[in-house]
Symmetry: C2
Subunit: 330 residues, 2 copies
């Protein structure tokens, strides 16, 4: 035990030396030098500097990231919705009742807009109905195969390659500085877990999302978990702090979002005592990605944008702050 | 980046050397040398040995522990129930209706047995009713104060000192070998999180338990989470694998329990591919702790004990396998 402690201390000292060395390099090379980048770098520096008045012990370094529109593209529709639409088509022969039942009827007619008119709740219903009835392992497999085959309609690239390179750098920079990085998303937890580890370096146990119920069943003598068409948690809006409390059990130090669905997560995170950090990705780049905020159906950013100034949250201007948006290849 | 990698590798090598050195020492000094102890040590050795056919990568090293009866004493009643009883007494003046309403009426008359006749569901109802209506921060504070003041009726010691020293050693041994140790308990998640980090070294985000709903409210201009008298999850029996899937998103490699409430967690864990380990703490020590199994109301162990042999689970005979039960002081 004692020698382990000494070794741990030695490694910690060497890590500190390395950290000092690393200060000369650029942890966020895809960010233009501006207020947004500087606010991230400065915050991490002050909370990790031993002896600093604003030092945060490593066990408390929790950073939460929304996924859709914050870590990857959410236009023209949520990726998981694109997956669900394809699933509706594949499953339709087994569900003749969908021809008469909204939002499925509209979807099957190709009228996505009408189907989405029911709002986030309708979206989650579609998701639950098309995701349920299989085991968790079968679901994983289905998502994996879909991600391999599907292409984004505008960029003709795999959906999981349309992640924001500058945000990947933020994730890595935080982890190098002892932060645990979490995804806290309105998207389905099991959907995100399929790619979050490979794409973001975020392991399954650090992904929090909207969740359906599962039920344990015996199948060929072995227990399996079968996904049920029943919503357990909607991890959006006020559901985000509620979900963080349920899963993590402590208030994060940093929160990153892009829409009003992240407002309460940003409020709750930055209302804590001691140093706190909030950031909003503002989609201002119609050329390289999309420009949208107050009027958008997907990822509406209105109240959170109004509050950012008085709350002291960093607002990223995607067009101005990011050198590149997506990685060249993945 | 490069230097960090090199340093990381250097630390890993030194850690390995230390590990080799540590093999000569005893990681589980409170365990008598017997089949139970040897099964734990041998399993950890084989899954952590690089190049071994049964090697498990560090990211997949997840071990789950039941709490009541597995990590600390659960007799004569669950600790959280003792807390809830004291809460019923403190809150009774504000709830005149409890005088007429079971299980509260029996509790207030001091008839714990009658109140408990309703089973685990009744217990959880008491817990939810006495835990709700306050903010999560207020609840933390209430539990902390109660743990400081309350004494176990038989041992006249703080409840959180009645933890099993041999199991603390297992937790530490697993963590030293790259395992993430989780608590997966029928007990309330927020109750356990108050002491789990200090007592077991398990951080809040690695505690999974039965959960009530919370609701975000503004209080004096700041967002707070208020506990609701509504059950969200019962993390017992089949609820344990369901909870593990929800919170962790991967199947554990090792599972530790002591009752039929842990049966499905043990089954689900050990039904996975590759090396798996299941262990049951059998309470056989009336002198130092308690002796109970098939007939016990709290922590009944019946079916899981029948299945242990054919499933290949280790059964700990507390009287024979443990040199000491509780730490001398804490």
């Amino acid at each position: 035990m004692k020698r382990t402690t000494i070794m741990g201390a030695a490694c910690a000292v060497m890590a500190m030396a390395l950290h000092a060395d690393a200060l000369g390099t650029d942890a966020l090379p895809s960010w233009n030098d501006g207020a947004a980048k500087r606010s991230i770098v400065a915050f991490v520096e002050k909370v990790t500097k031993p002896g600093s008045a604003e030092f945060v012990p490593e066990t408390q370094r929790v950073a939460v990231f929304d996924n859709d529109g914050t870590l990857w593209a959410e236009q023209p529709m949520y990726v998981q919705l694109a997956f669900a639409l394809d699933r509706v088509k594949s499953l339709a022969p087994k569900h003749p009742e969908w021809k008469e039942k909204e939002p499925f009827a509209s979807l099957l007619k190709g009228d996505v807009k009408a189907a989405l008119a029911g709002g986030d709740k309708a979206v989650l219903e579609i998701v639950m109905a098309t995701h349920a009835g299989m085991t968790t392992d079968e679901f994983d497999q289905t998502v994996k195969e879909w991600l391999r085959a599907a292409r984004h309609p505008r960029f003709d690239r795999p959906y999981d390659s349309l992640v924001y390179q500058p945000m990947l750098e933020v994730l890595a920079h935080l982890r190098q500085n002892g932060f645990k990085t979490y995804i806290v998303s309105g998207g389905g937890v099991e959907f995100m877990r399929v790619f979050a580890e490979e794409v973001y370096g975020v392991p399954p146990e650090q992904v929090i999302g909207s969740s359906g119920k599962t039920k344990l069943r015996m199948q060929g003598g072995a227990p399996v978990l079968v996904k049920q068409p029943e919503i357990l948690l909607i991890d959006d809006g006020p559901g985000k702090p509620e979900g963080i409390n349920l899963f993590i059990g402590r208030r994060p130090v940093m929160a990153f979002g892009n829409s009003d669905g992240d407002l309460q997560m940003l409020q709750w995170t930055t209302a804590g005592e001691g140093p706190r950090f909030g950031l909003i990705v503002h989609h201002t780049d119609a050329k390289r990605e999309w420009a949208y905020d107050r009027e958008s159906h997907t990822g509406r950013l209105d109240k959170a944008l109004d509050d950012a100034g008085s709350e002291g949250w960093t607002v990223v201007d995607m067009a101005r702050d990011w050198k590149i948006v997506f990685p060249a290849t993945r």
